[in-house]
């Protein structure tokens, strides 16, 4: 009974894996995560176990039927929009000019417009800075938090709550709260900074040199707790014997973390870095609230720019081209992240 159940699992693992990568690439990290756990888990345990228990010949269509609802949603909300953006990127369509209201074929004109637009390069640079500035720090913090709270002690529930609560808040409320914390002179953030001796500029959301940093800071504050949860789950599933053995061999905490914990959590790290990078490319809410991409585009990042081009400038063609650029960047990153960590995995083991 048990054997047959577990042997049927790889068959059903297929859809689970595609779910995690498929929508995760283009959708927000929310749906990506629920897809990975929700349907994947039920597919593997529920019907698979039942079919195995009866020892009847398994239906060939059933797995596909079960994936069908997900497939329909993926096709409708991921594949179709991607194709339609790709097509749209080759057509000139600007809703605020009557003669360009209906799409006309324009070849690579939209891409040419984009690649001749200095703001686009500024936005790309900002995005790279934002992603590289926020992702590694929030993952490292998430890991650190997980190590800190993965123990039994008094008040640990409170500590976990404190570290996790920013994740539960909607980004818009987080940004609104931070807007007040960042107020010059008496904002809590600035008061704290001046208490520890900071005497620099306080105008975080209005200063072109600080605005992007403010956006990054808020993103880290919001996301670290989220990644912490994954690491905490990972940590708690690690075998204890290994750590006991390490302790008997006299390995220090640092060595244990570096040589044992981190390598064992490789899969978790792969998952977390993937969703973190994708999430960073997709973050936009706090930009709306905190800086509107300003001043002078200093904190304008790819998705906000895309929104501006599509819904403010009403340039559908260039917005589609931008979407394709965004998708290409995300695909490139996801695939290379996967390949790199797979190779590392082989070297290690």
């Amino acid at each position: 009974m048990r054997r047959s159940k577990s042997s049927s699992r790889p068959q059903f693992a297929g859809p689970g894996v595609t779910d995690a990568n498929g929508p995760g690439v283009t959708d927000a990290n929310g749906p990506g995560v629920t897809d990975a756990n929700g349907p994947g888990v039920t597919d593997a345990n529920g019907p698979g176990g039942a079919a195995g228990g009866r020892r009847r010949p398994r239906s060939v269509i059933l797995p596909y039927l079960l994936v069908l609802p997900t497939l329909i949603f993926v096709a409708m909300f991921t594949i179709w929009p991607t194709i339609s953006s790709l097509l749209g990127s080759f057509f000139l369509q600007r809703l605020n000019i009557a003669k360009y209201r209906e799409p006309t074929f324009a070849g690579f004109a939209n891409y040419a417009t984009l690649f001749h637009d200095p703001t686009f390069y500024q936005v790309l640079g900002n995005t790279a800075f934002y992603v590289l500035g926020s992702v590694p720090v929030s993952i490292a913090l998430g890991f650190l938090f997980a190590l800190l709270i993965n123990r039994r002690m008094r008040g640990i529930g409170l500590a976990r709550l404190a570290l996790f609560h920013p994740t539960v808040l909607p980004m818009v409320s987080v940004a609104t709260v931070w807007l007040f914390l960042l107020t010059p002179d008496y904002g809590l953030f600035n008061s704290a900074l001046s208490f520890i001796g900071y005497r620099g500029a306080q105008n975080w959301t209005g200063n072109p040199d600080l605005a992007l940093l403010a956006i990054i800071f808020v993103a880290i504050w919001k996301n670290a707790g989220y990644y912490m949860i994954f690491y905490l789950a990972g940590l708690q599933s690690l075998p204890r014997e290994v750590f006991e053995a390490a302790r008997l061999d006299g390995a220090g905490a640092l060595t244990t973390t570096r040589k044992i914990t981190l390598p064992l959590l490789r899969r978790t790290s792969l998952f977390v870095t993937t969703i973190a990078f994708i999430g960073a490319f997709q973050s936009v809410d706090h930009v709306f609230v905190l800086t509107s991409g300003g001043p002078s585009n200093a904190s304008n990042i790819l998705l906000y720019y895309l929104w501006q081009v599509r819904f403010e400038n009403l340039n559908v063609g260039v917005a589609s081209a931008l979407t394709i650029v965004l998708i290409a960047l995300l695909l490139m990153f996801t695939v290379s992240n996967f390949l790199i960590s797979e190779r590392k995995g082989n070297l290690d083991g």
């Binding site: 609802p69 329909i72 809703l95 105008n203 200063n207 300003g294 819904f311 403010e312 009403l314």
Partner: protein
Amino acid sequence: MRKLVSLALSFAFVISAAGLFANGQTESPAASGPISIQVFYPVAVDAPIAQILNGYVSEFEKANPNITVKPVFSGGYNDVKTAIQTTIQGGGKPPALAVMLATDLYDLINAGYIEPLDPYLAKLPNRDSYLGDFYSSFMDNSRYNNKIWSLPFQRSAVVMYYNKDLFKQSGLSAPNSWASLAEDAQKLTVRNGNDVSRWGILWSTVGLPYWLFQPLAIGAGKNVVGSSDTEVYFNTPECIAAIKFYNSLSQKCKATPSGAQDTWGASPGDLASGRAAMIVHSTGSLAGILKQAKFDVGVMAVPGEKPNTYASVPGGGNLYILKNAPQDQKDAAFKFMQFLTEPDRVADFSIKTGYIAARKSAYETPAMKDYIAKVPQAAETRDALQYAGKELSLQNLAKVRNIFQDYLQQAFNGKLSPEEAMQKAQSEADASLKEFK
């Protein structure tokens, strides 16, 4: 058995999902009988808008039993516009009525989303007196190609709020020119060592910089936009002088923090708590300021460059009828529009929200007269309107506005000289307007 159940479940899921999407197309209102209209409405303002509008809706439905009005409240102006765009682009039916920014006029016409109100207005017996009753600086945003495309509804303007008690204590009178504004601001700034405990003036230049800046350009003698829908005046000596004046408030007078300032959200509170002696802000903040301030609050138009000149600029949202809605819904929508713009209701809306009443006759209603007797500032916001120039509104608005704001902030932040910044803003804006001429 369980397999069967799961199969059935998955089918049910697929079918219900398909049904969900088919649903959007099955709605087809009957030609006669009860009419139901949707009104898209932004709520991200400093007043209980949803509650107020729901009250009007139930009053209207009582008077017009065959019409049902469904208000759809969503975020800010941008969210309403985005929702309508996506509905229309996706092939759906737009709401019959929506409140959108007055300045979005050109984009909405070009995209083919809205239709002129002239056919509806022509049926009114009192068309001319009805239209003439709206303040002309608000109506300016409704006219294009000799047609009227919208009616003013929740309208505001840029004004200067000042702490009258502080002025009195320091023996100062309200400023009437740039020079006296700078002098007062300097005198009212209080420093304790390196820390400033009170700024003379706070003037936000992040968020909506073009809007709060426009009174400076108008006050210098030339607005950044004129009657043409494809021309801007960014590199004029007046506009450059306006930037220099703004910069001098921080650099020379030390009366405001230097560089572009993001004080939009905080400055009403700063004025009320005494951390600023003057702020330049929207009339929309009046109610909030009056609620918090423990001193006599003064409201006036922004002083201009020359003595006894003033400037302001209107803002806010208008009522639009959406072209692709069914005709019976559009007729009902116009009826609701008329209902909302009746003087008593305009007065009531203004009293409850702090927006400027868009019609002159609203100020003659007993309710408004009583209110002004209690809150004289409500009349002061309206009085600022007589100095108002046109709000930046023209073809390709978002693009031109972003160009202007980017260079404006570079000039405030000292990244470029005002002359250089405005030269670049002008040439980029001209280039982006070429296709619209």
